[in-house]
Every structure is written in C-alpha cells, then in structure tokens.
Symmetry: none
Subunit: 198 residues, 4 copies
C-alpha cells in the first residue's frame, strides 16, 4: 500500500513530530517556521537543511496520518466499519486539533500538493470502507439496495457531523456515548427488512 516510502532522517522525524504537536496544541495557524524551529531548539535556517520548505514539512506530516488512520486490523464487514468509526473518534479524542486538520480539506486549498494528498487519502479510505460495506452486504447485515457512494455518505456523514459538533462545542458532550448510540441506530436502520422474517 505504500506508494513512496520516504524514510525520514531522525531529524526530519523530529521536525514532523514537532509540527504535529504544534498543530495539535495551537492550531494550524501557529505552524510557522519560527515556532517549529524554536520547538526543536534550532534556528529557523536550520530547518532548511532537512526540508526544502514548509510545504514539504506539511506533506511529510500529512502523509503520516495515513498510517494512523486506516489500520483496522483483521476485521471485516460491519465489524470493520464500526472499528473504523470508533478509531476515528478515538483519534479525535486523543488529538482533537490534529483531527480537525484531517477533516478540513479546505484548509489546504492553497497548496495543491497537500490537497492532493488529503484527497488521495480520502479516496483510499472511501475505497476501503466500501469494501467493508460490500462484505457487510454479503453477510446480510446491510441491505443491498443502497448504492455504495450513498451508503458511504449515510454512514460517514453523520460521523463527521458528530465530530464537528463536538469540536465546535468544545467537547461539551460525551463523544463516545453519542457515537455508540449513533452506530447502534445506523446498524439497525441499515439492516435488511426481511430479517424480521428470518
């Protein structure tokens, strides 16, 4: 699955880590070369020994998300879907601002490279999810008449909104509880109707 494994030097890794921390703690607007360099304890100029520019730092950072996000392990079918949604919310809970970056494709409008990376991630994620949807359909857990893209929206859309509301409300409600509640209803709603006859 890895397209271009760019093995980062330890210094590069350190920089990417610092960038992640900075975004997570202070928001993306505080991800400046200055802040980054002082976070690491070197001069601003020093960063340019390790990355050609800021864009590349963000690229490296964003690329790393991918590993984190889509590892659901050996699960399949609806269990895999559930696991994915859970994993996402847990990531949000663990690193709220980082998560905000993940969902804010608009933020990177001005650097097409990064937008591209994010778009690719989104696509790949979508692909994986659809696999699991298909498995769930085959398992008879989800009704078969909903097109995959619509299905994707019906499931991921509510999750995204839930996370967004949680973020906007500054964590005012119990994200896990609402997520579980939502998942339960989703599953029931999507269950084939004939099941009741079984």
């Amino acid at each position: 699955m890895d397209k271009k494994k760019k093995t980062l030097t330890s210094r590069q890794a350190e920089i990417v880590d610092a960038a992640l921390k900075l975004i997570a703690e202070q928001g993306i607007q505080h991800l400046t070369i200055r802040n980054l360099s002082t976070a690491i304890g070197v001069t601003e100029a020093a960063l340019y020994r390790h990355f050609p520019g800021k864009t590349e730092i963000i690229q490296a950072m964003v690329s790393r998300f991918e590993e984190d996000v889509d590892e659901i392990g050996e699960l399949r079918g609806w269990r895999a879907v559930e696991a994915a949604l859970v994993r996402r919310t847990e990531l949000v809970l663990a690193k709220p601002d980082l998560a905000r970056v993940l969902f804010a494709e608009e933020l990177f409008k001005d650097s097409p490279e990064i937008a591209q990376i994010l778009y690719g991630m989104m696509q790949r994620h979508q692909q994986i999810m659809k696999c699991h949807f298909q498995e769930a359909v085959d398992d008879g857990v989800i009704r078969a008449d909903i097109p995959m893209d619509t299905l994707f929206r019906l499931i991921l859309g509510p999750l995204r909104l839930l996370i967004k509301q949680w973020g906007l409300s500054d964590g005012a409600f119990d994200l896990r509880a609402k997520r579980d509640e939502m998942l339960e209803f989703m599953k029931e709603l999507l269950t084939p109707k004939m099941q009741s006859l079984r």
Copy 2:
C-alpha cells in the same frame, strides 16, 4: 426573528460578495484586506469606510448565510425537512462560492467571534429542523425511538458530506440526482417498521 440590522449598503454588499468569492476560490488565507480591496477596485483604506474591520466583514458574510438558508415557507413535517435539504443543495448549485464556505466552520476557528456566529446559526437551524422532525414523528413518518440530536446528524450529516464531496470534486457528479436518491433512502430507512404491531 432577525436579531440585528443587516441591511447592507450596496458597497457593503459588494465587499461581502467579493469576500465570499475570494474565500471560495482561493481559500480563507487569501481573504486579506489587500486582496479584497483590489478585487473591488479601491484602496485598502477605502474598505474601512464601509466596515470597521476585517472581522466585521466576515461577520456580515457569515450572517448572510442565514437569510439564504432557513426559509422553507409554510411546509411542515417531513415535507419541510425535504424542502430544507433541497433548498440547501439548490443554494449550493446557485452560488457555489457560498456553498464552499457554508460548511467549513473550521475556517474560522481562530476568530472566536465568527465561530460563535456560526455556532449560533447552526444551533438555530438545528432547532428548526428538530421541530420538523418532531412533526414527522407525530405524523408517523419517522420512527420515534431516535433521539433528536442523533436524528439531526443522521439526516444532515450525509447532506453535508454530499455537498462537500461535490465541492471537492469540482461538481463532477449530478448533485440533484444524488441528493434525491439519498433523500429517498433516508425516508425509507427512517420509516417506522410497524413496530407497534410486533
């Protein structure tokens, strides 16, 4: 129901339009006083005759959403819900610029005033929708066992994601068709399963 005066002078409207366009086309980082003023064809200083500051411009911009979004007319119940979703997508189709900004609350994360406005809008919109949900439940069109906030997410979440995907893909698919398809499935999924007969 209008809280504050929002009668904009023609120049103010022009500025707000330009701001909207700028954000939609280039991202919020490019919404600068400079860009804004040159977009209109005046000096930067000139803008300050019409708005006290950048914040107020964005506020005016954001406030305008509200008018556009929430007028559903005389409908009630599920019909009203459908009308709202349709209205939203039609708005997106009519003013794609506005649309791109509409769901990107993250964009304004760093200015709490605007985040507040957006949050307020969202809350009010949510309130209205919940009314209609309740009506739909009372009408027996929607099952009664889903909490209102979850219901809101199950319906609005997919719509938002649909619009976002449409925006990110630069209008690559037929928004109306997908919206109608989605609506249809939603309605069916949410219909009570004659549970009362069980």
Copy 3:
C-alpha cells in the same frame, strides 16, 4: 500685546475647545482629525471648512494658552512672581494634560510653526518674569547680584521640576503644599543678606 487677534468663528472656537478637551483628557496623540470631528459631531471633512488643516487647529489652540497663562493682574515685584508660579500650578491641577503640553516644547518639534509659537510664549513669559524680578530687586526683596537669566532659572527651574515630578508620579503628593514650601524657601534664600542687619 496681541499680535494678530484672529477672531474665531463660533464653530472654530468649538473645534479648538474640543481639541483642548481631547488633549487634556487623552493626551496629544489622541488629537486626531477623526477624534476631533466625532467629538464635535460632524464629519472629518467638515473640519476642513473651518481650518485649512490640523496644524492651524493646534496653532489656534496653543495661541489661546497665552491669554490664560500670563494674567497676574495688578501685582508687581515678588508678589507677582509668586502669583505667576501659583497660577501655573493651579493650571496644572485644573488641567494636567493641557499643562503637560505647555511644558513640552519638544512635542512640537516637527511643526516649526507651533514650536515657534511656544518659543515665543516662553520668551515673552520670561520677559515678564524678569520685569517682576527687577521690581523685586528694586524693592530690596531679592539680592541684586544674580543675573536675570540665572535668576529666572533658579526660580522657574524648580517649579518646572516640581510639576514634572508631580505629573510623573501621577499626582502622588500634594502639589500645592510642596509649591508653597518651595516658594517660601526661595524667597528666603534670595533675600539680600544684609537684611539681617536691618
């Protein structure tokens, strides 16, 4: 004594009053055309109907000080000197910031016209004081061997410093009390020595 009596129109007078008030209340840096115009209740542009520019407003304002400062009435000799010093401190007490302007010749370094006016005021004031010194000398109240300019400094210098300290300390001590104490010592110190033999 009036060089060019510029009879101000009532609107001009109003503007000058507002300018004085502004300086007195907020300091000279807040004396802007904007603040001035809103203080009066007109547009910025309107001010230019009454004065050719900001400089002329300040000129008119500064010119008015002259009347206020040097009217000691019918007194002469040492009594007149005392009266002058008292008058100055009372002015300071009444309008602290305005007074600060009076002593801060440096503030107007960049507009030579105003510096000129202030310098002229200072000179004239010095002249008047020296007259009274001479009278005091003739009266035998002040010793005759001190040159007039030095005498001026020996008397006015401490007063200025007193006022400055009072201003810098934000009025932390009793200006009147210290002024009277100072005056008393001054008089005694400057009394001709033979007096003791009289």
Copy 4:
C-alpha cells in the same frame, strides 16, 4: 548596582544610537521602525533580529542614559553634587542628541513601560543626590532646614531648565559658563547663614 543585562551587540548599539539621533533631530514622532531601519541601512524586518520590538529599542535607549549619567567617582558632599551637575552638562555638550531626550519624560507618556523606567532612573538618581546633600549638610556646607526633596528641586530644577533652554536655543549660549555661574550662586545661596549664632 546594575539590575539587568545591558551588554548590547554592536548592531544593537548602532540601532540605539540611530534612535537617539532620530528623536533628537526630528522628534519622537519620527522614531519609526521605517526611519530607524533606513537610517541604519537595513530593512525594517532586519531590526526585529536585534530587538523584539520598538518598545525594547526605546527601553535600551533610555536605559543607556543611566550608565552615562550617574558615575561621579569617589567624591562626596557638595563636591559630589557639583561633579554630578558638571558631568551632566558635559554629557550634554558631548552628545547633544542624548541631551535633548534626557529631560523629555513627556515624550514617552503613552508607553507606560518606558515611563516606568524613566521614573525609576529619576528616583535612583534622586536618592544618590540626596545622600550627597546630606553629606553636604553634615559638612556644614548647606543649610539644614530645607527638606531633601525640595533641596533636590532647587538644585536640579535650574540645571534642567538651563539645559533645556540651551537645547531649544540650539546651543546659542555658553553652557559651561552659565552652569558655573549658576553653581556658584547656588552654593552661596544654600550656605548656612550662621543661624547657629543668632
């Protein structure tokens, strides 16, 4: 006795010098980052490598006064007082720029931090002088009945005025001669009048 580090880099010293010159020659309103940077021959941005902001530049400038002013060496009593006044005037003669700023506390009225520094300097200087006054009193050179703060004003006030007049007149008179004359009179005036014999 030094409170904070004041070892300036050569570039910092250059900036401070330029700032001093700018204020002295053109008034504080012209002490802008722009003017300052062009005076030195660098970009505005370059200044921020050497000072965090304008405030700190002015602070450094103001702080420098202290070193120059208060070193009188081993002297004590009236000799020390004389030495201090002489030193001050010599400083004025050597660095007229600095001199013009030296007594213009009003200039910094709007930035409380700097006003604070100046006030502190003034206080410390006053303390030192009062020590010497006391010594002079104990030596029987100065009469004992004048409160220390008044005494301070009676001696330093005239000096400040002398220097200010010299500055305003653009060095039109012989500062040294007038200073010596003043000092002589001061000493004589303040000599005890054998009051003890009365």
